[in-house]
């Protein structure tokens, strides 16, 4: 975007090590100029801790943060640049606009705090608000802004000081569904022109897909998967990532070649056939929700004919989703849990009850093994 100087844009290289009560957060990341990295993970996975470390708010032994040639943190060498001296912009889930200042004064705050005269600071802040399409909100206090507007003002406040690194901590999580879509679009537009590295923290895969160039998945403080957002979501390596798209991931005991494909054996002896083998990553069986077909015994009749390879199980959970009913099935062999989806129009959807015995047939063409 015009007006944003890019001459001094630097890449971020960070080794984050922060001890917490239950586990240590361990994350190595490199983000290039203009690149957006999304840290994806469940609540409490350590995402915000990584951001706090990059902002200089926390650090543990072994932590090292470098922007270009500028060493911001090297705990072992005793190096630490204070948060206010880093020129690192941080946008919070709860916007944290100063309640006693107008939108314009909020945006001008960083400029004035670093010595820009009042008039010039206000002029630059007004330009930044106009650029973000927020010019008519300049005289409102935060209490007079909607959640989405407040978050966009907070972003303008962070950007106007030309940070060398932009950190976004769940910027959309506190918004209602409608505001989230609009604010996500505004965020996408603002980030498109940013010359700085950006690190975005989210637990919503939609943010990763819409905003990020690359994703790192965090689970209990560790990076468990990384790559382009689409690729990560299409090939989940862990139950957490699979849950984001409604699918299932199992750890197989072994994977053997089989006629026309592979067969994975799970603990307890359940066997899953697959036509697709992943080229890399940990051993896994990936079953998208769409790959499972549920069959219910007609009382008192026999099971419908399903061919070989159907898995026996019991319904342990039913969760209505927008377009479909998500059904959790625990397999009789080994107790593995699988998520299947049934369309609301399907008569099975109305019949199913928790505790029902079902059989599941998996489409080998949709199942991936490694």
């Amino acid at each position: 975007m015009s007006g944003v100087g890019s001459a001094d844009a630097l890449g971020l290289e960070a080794r984050v090590r922060v001890p917490r009560t239950a586990f240590e957060v361990v994350a190595d990341l490199a983000v290039g100029p203009g690149e957006v990295l999304c840290l994806l993970g469940a609540n409490g996975a350590g995402k915000s801790t990584v951001l706090a470390a990059l902002a200089g708010l926390v650090a543990g032994p072994g932590t090292r943060v470098q922007l270009g040639d500028d060493l911001l943190d090297d705990v072992d060498a005793g190096r630490h640049v204070a948060p206010q001296d880093r020129r690192v912009g941080l946008v919070f889930q709860d916007h944290r606009l100063f309640p006693h200042l107008t939108a314009l004064e909020n945006v001008a705050f960083g400029l004035r705090a670093t010595g820009t005269p009042r008039q010039e600071a206000h002029r630059t802040a007004a330009e930044e608000l106009a650029r973000a399409g927020l010019a008519d909100l300049r005289d409102r206090r935060p209490s007079g802004l909607s959640g989405g507007q407040a978050q966009r003002v907070a972003l303008a406040r962070a950007l106007v000081v030309r940070p060398r690194l932009l950190l976004l901590d769940e910027p959309l999580a506190a918004l209602d569904a409608e505001a989230r879509v609009a604010t996500r679009a505004a965020l996408r537009q603002a980030l498109a022109g940013q010359p700085t590295p950006t690190v975005l923290v989210s637990h919503d895969p939609a943010d990763a897909v819409a905003l990020a160039d690359r994703v790192l998945v965090l689970d209990r403080g560790r990076v468990v998967q990384g790559g382009p957002p689409g690729a990560v979501l299409a090939d989940p390596w862990s139950p957490y990532v699979a849950s984001l798209t409604g699918g299932t991931v199992w750890r197989p005991e072994r994977v053997d070649p089989d006629a026309g494909g592979w067969v994975a054996t799970l603990a307890g002896g359940a066997r899953v056939r697959s036509a697709r083998r992943a080229p890399a990553g940990p051993p896994r069986v990936v079953v998208p929700a769409s790959a499972a077909r549920l069959l219910v015994a007609e009382p008192p009749g026999p099971w419908p004919v399903v061919g070989p390879g159907a898995l026996e199980g019991d319904v342990v959970g039913l969760e209505p989703r927008v377009a479909r009913l998500a059904v959790s099935v625990r397999l009789r062999r080994g107790g593995h849990v699988l998520t299947a989806e049934v369309g609301w129009g399907d008569e099975v959807a109305a019949q199913l009850r928790t505790g029902d015995a079902v059989r599941v047939r998996l489409d080998p063409d949709q199942v991936t093994v490694r």
Binding site: P83, R141, R157
Partner: protein, 279 residues
């Protein structure tokens, strides 16, 4: 109409006190109100104006207002940073934290006359600091307007400190983090974010502090004496007049009572409700 259906205009249920609590509550209220009523009953209404306009009373009023304003100013200057220190002390080991808090709040429970005596042993002509101070500069503190201000500050500042500390604890620490990431130093953050947000608490504390300073008696009379026109304040003149001229004592007492009630009404409406925050 059954009691449980009693509601006000906005449809809210009216809470009722059981008799067992209502009676002691009313007795307690009477204990607070009746003395003021007795004072009003004894007021020399016909000569009130001329008694209050007497030179002695006007002198005492002038000394009282001047010293209470100065004591409030000193309390603001020293008390706001002290309140800040109290919030920072949360990170200290518990014994030190407790000691600091005890030292700051002890004037609230200490008889003011003891405070005055302690000030005298510190700053009197033979005092711990008073002797070297006089030797070096020739300045003596006791029995001056400065002594009145010091005595009032000693007694009244804790009210301001506690009020400001409470306000500081109410400020979202996330706002201070946000200010830091925008490049603001701790001083700038305090001045431009924290202080404006605690302004209602500072104002409430200053008003309480002023009212307490205006009514200060024990520490003042011990440390500053009662020299008419120099250190005699309204409360000390009440005490002296009570023996020689009781009706004037009542008249001055009415002024002090009116100021006290006025201050509390002002506080309740403007600051104690907290509605001023963010307005």
């Amino acid at each position: 109409m059954p009691a449980s259906s009693s509601t006000d205009r906005r449809g809210r249920r009216r809470a009722r006190l059981p008799l067992l609590a209502l009676v002691p509550a009313l007795v307690g209220l009477a204990l607070l109100v009746l003395p003021a009523v007795a004072l009003l009953a004894r007021a020399p209404w016909s000569t009130l104006g001329e008694r209050l306009a007497s030179e002695a009373v006007l002198d005492a009023l002038r000394v009282s207002v001047t010293s209470a304003v100065l004591a409030t100013a000193v309390s603001l200057l020293l008390g706001v940073p002290l309140a800040w220190l109290l919030t920072v002390a949360d990170a200290w080991a518990r014994p030190w934290r407790r000691l600091l808090r005890a030292v700051v709040t002890v004037p609230l429970v200490l008889p003011p006359v003891v405070g005055g005596l302690a000030l005298l042993y510190l700053l009197g002509r033979t005092g711990l600091l008073g002797r070297p101070l006089e030797a070096l500069t020739g300045v003596t503190v006791p029995f001056t307007l400065g002594a009145v201000v010091l005595a009032q500050t000693f007694v009244a500042m804790p009210f301001l400190v506690l009020s400001v500390e409470g306000a500081l604890r109410g400020v979202d620490p996330g706002l201070q983090v946000a200010a830091a990431t925008l490049g603001a130093s701790r001083g700038t953050t305090f001045r431009r974010v924290t202080l404006p947000l605690v302004a209602p608490g500072v104002a409430a504390g200053a008003v309480l502090c002023f009212a307490r300073a205006l009514g200060e008696f024990g520490a003042t009379i011990t440390f500053a004496g009662t020299f008419p026109g120099r250190t005699q304040t309204l409360p000390t003149s009440v005490y002296l007049a009570q023996q020689s001229d009781p009706e004037s004592a009542v008249a001055i007492s009415l002024v002090l009572l009116a100021v006290g009630v006025g201050v509390l009404l002002l506080l309740r409406d403007r600051w104690l409700t907290g509605a001023a925050v963010g307005r």
